[in-house]
Assembly symmetry: C2
Homo-oligomer: 412 residues x 2
């Protein structure tokens, strides 16, 4: 939680942190500011002190709306810095940071940097800043950073916002189900009243519209993949593809609050009209493993221990996994789940290489998403819910939705 940041800074031996980049679609900045219309800003926090937001003059109202202490960068006489740097952008940015740090009393110690920005630009600025300020150690954290560790346990307000996005998501999923069910089958594909086929592109356009109606954004697109595409976990689906009856459709939807706020992540697998025996059997295996893993979740456990358990369960049902057959493209080929928050993927993680500190602690919000993939057999199945760990250690699905495999459609 945000209130843990000072103690996390202590644990990471950090004296200060700096978050740079835009105000929106920049998780660390959104986390600290709430996400206003800031083209580019810097937030600096010394351990034990309130953060300070440095903004450009044109964005002073948006900065003030954050409720944070603010500083107007126009007060730093950027034009003089530019002239002194002879137009060298890196030198100018280094001089700007030095001026800002001096005002905040930062001259030594360890400062970590965060925020979405261009890899080359930030590498240029921060390596030059490090050279200019040898007493200050600039720290690049990777993996479980202070910010990601704080984010991993959500406060009640964040949980409610994710729950709301869950309602938005399952509401749209219901609209998609109603839309598909109200079309009819002809020659094995779904068609409209006028006989023209429904395409995956059509379905995706409606999803974006229905998300917008509910005030959500869909920056990462939707996975709506049928047949062989469903057999490759991250195939987003081919826009021109028709919806063939009886084939597995993986529908994985992960919208966020407008402006890059909290995400929700959700998957169902559907067969239109009927399921082949093969698809139904695959579905039963995923459903059984999903139910088993959900029943075994226990507060405080290392998340990746359930990855091991999921592999064991799938292997017992005769499927290859990333554990029994590293690099397999058939069977269970990904990890069980991941944290969800201001990133669609964030800590805690469940992959084999995730740290043991990634635990299902109270406040954590994660996906549970077992799946089986057989691209050569033209099918894949995944079921996913986003779940929260309550303060009492109980797990709850943040937005319930039925698990039916077959979606009936109109015939004749």
């Amino acid at each position: 939680m945000k209130s843990d940041i000072d103690s996390l800074m202590q644990a990471h031996a950090l004296d200060a942190l700096l978050i740079t980049g835009p105000g929106k679609h920049n998780p660390a900045m959104v986390y600290m500011t709430g996400g206003g219309h800031l083209t580019r800003a810097d937030l600096i926090k010394k351990r034990g002190d309130e953060p300070v937001l440095f903004h450009y003059s044109m964005e002073r109202d948006e900065a003030a709306n954050t409720g944070l202490r603010t500083k107007n960068l126009d007060d730093y006489d950027l034009m003089s810095l530019y002239k002194e740097a002879n137009g060298d952008q890196v030198k100018m940015q280094v001089a700007r940071y030095q001026k800002m740090f001096a005002e905040m009393g930062i001259s030594a110690g360890r400062m970590a940097i965060y925020g979405q920005s261009d890899a080359g630009g930030s590498y240029a600025i921060f390596t030059a800043l490090q050279q200019a300020m040898p007493e200050l150690t600039i720290v690049g954290e990777l993996g479980n950073t202070v910010i990601l560790e704080a984010m991993a346990t959500k406060d009640p307000d964040a949980i409610e916002r994710i729950r709301h996005m869950g309602k938005v998501t399952t509401g749209v999923v219901g609209q998609v189900a109603d839309f598909l069910s109200s079309q009819r089958a002809k020659d094995g594909v779904l068609v409209r009243r006028d006989g023209t086929p429904v395409t995956i592109g059509d379905v995706k356009s409606r999803i974006n519209l229905w998300l917008a109606e509910r005030g959500a954004e869909n920056p990462e697109d939707t996975i709506f993949a049928i047949g062989r595409d469903a057999g490759v976990p991250h195939s987003a689906g081919t826009p021109g593809d028709l919806l063939r009856l009886g084939q597995t459709i993986i529908f994985d939807i992960f919208p966020c609050e407008a402006g890059g706020g909290y995400f929700y992540d959700f998957t169902r697998t559907w067969c239109l009209g009927y399921a082949s025996d093969d698809a139904a059997a695959l579905y039963e295996d995923v459903r059984a493993v999903y139910d088993q893993v959900m029943s075994e979740l226990s507060s405080g456990k290392v998340f990746k221990s359930y990855q091991d358990r999921t592999c064991e369960l799938f292997e017992a049902r005769g499927h290859p996994t990333g554990r029994s057959k590293p690099g397999t493209q058939e069977g269970y080929v990904h990890s069980l789940g991941h944290g969800v928050g201001l990133h669609i993927h964030e800590a805690p993680f469940s992959g084999f290489t995730s740290p043991d500190t990634d635990r299902l602690a109270p406040g954590v919000v994660v996906t549970i998403e077992p799946g089986l993939y057989y691209p050569e057999r033209g099918m894949g199945v995944r079921l996913e819910d986003t779940i929260g760990v309550r303060p009492d250690g109980q797990f709850e699905i943040l937005a319930e939705y039925p698990y039916d495999l077959v979606l009936p459609v109109q015939t004749g």
Copy 2:
């Protein structure tokens, strides 16, 4: 243009470039790949060679759809790298890059890095990689990078995509105008048929919906700011504010193609019902300067020379500018415009600190957006169109829209 990349690499003395990060909302990656569903990928290009896209196995179909040469990262035995690195994420990433570079025959020379990613994570990885490979110079470019210089001149396909986004944008602006004009005035504010007032939040929800209907995304929100808010250039507008008649509304809208593609940028200033004499006079000044500057644009000129000219024109009309009164928050307080492409703001730039190489060359797409701001008088005016420089050196507005200040509303 993309075809200039090899010669730009030569001019920047670069032997290779590396683009990292997600496949969407990551301009450099979208530029080179087209923007598929890639959670995280690396694209490497040696000067004179075709780029190679390194992707994860789950995303092999999305990678293949780019039409580029691809390499599956699962072939790099990441689990062994992880074990050899004893779980140290930075060491593991460095080892992964070294393996990839070895396969591509990259061991020395100068390699520039690009792509949206976490500032700390990329700083950690690339400083460690630099230490591990002292023969290879890792270059962080800031300002006019190879990628930004290539992007600055658009090929015909990119121009058509921006023009299409212009049609989407002005289409939605027309819908907003129709919506406002069909409401009625009561006690000086705009109300619906049932007498409840229309808020800025209402208008913004409709904008997002209408953009989604047209297949666009709106990741940066919209500026729809009235009264004093209109007097602060980047105030996005207060959702609960009512639409008072006679006050200036700055409506600045900048959506992009779904998934983080090409943007369009557009502003009109409206007064509902009537304009006060003060607002009308301010508007006339902005309109006259807009027309004058547009008439003087000449292919090949340094973009910021028009910033100087715009200041001159506004000063002649009695307004303070950033030139006559540095740091002013009244009058003309920003720069004339900026390039538009896969970034909402990209080269060429027109600010006083922009380089002389930022020119209005053929293929360039820029905004022209003079404005005047008087927050204490509760008003602001800005007019903005996105224009392209044709191969013959002629300038064209990519999506025309009327300039009327007063938007009539229903009365009684």
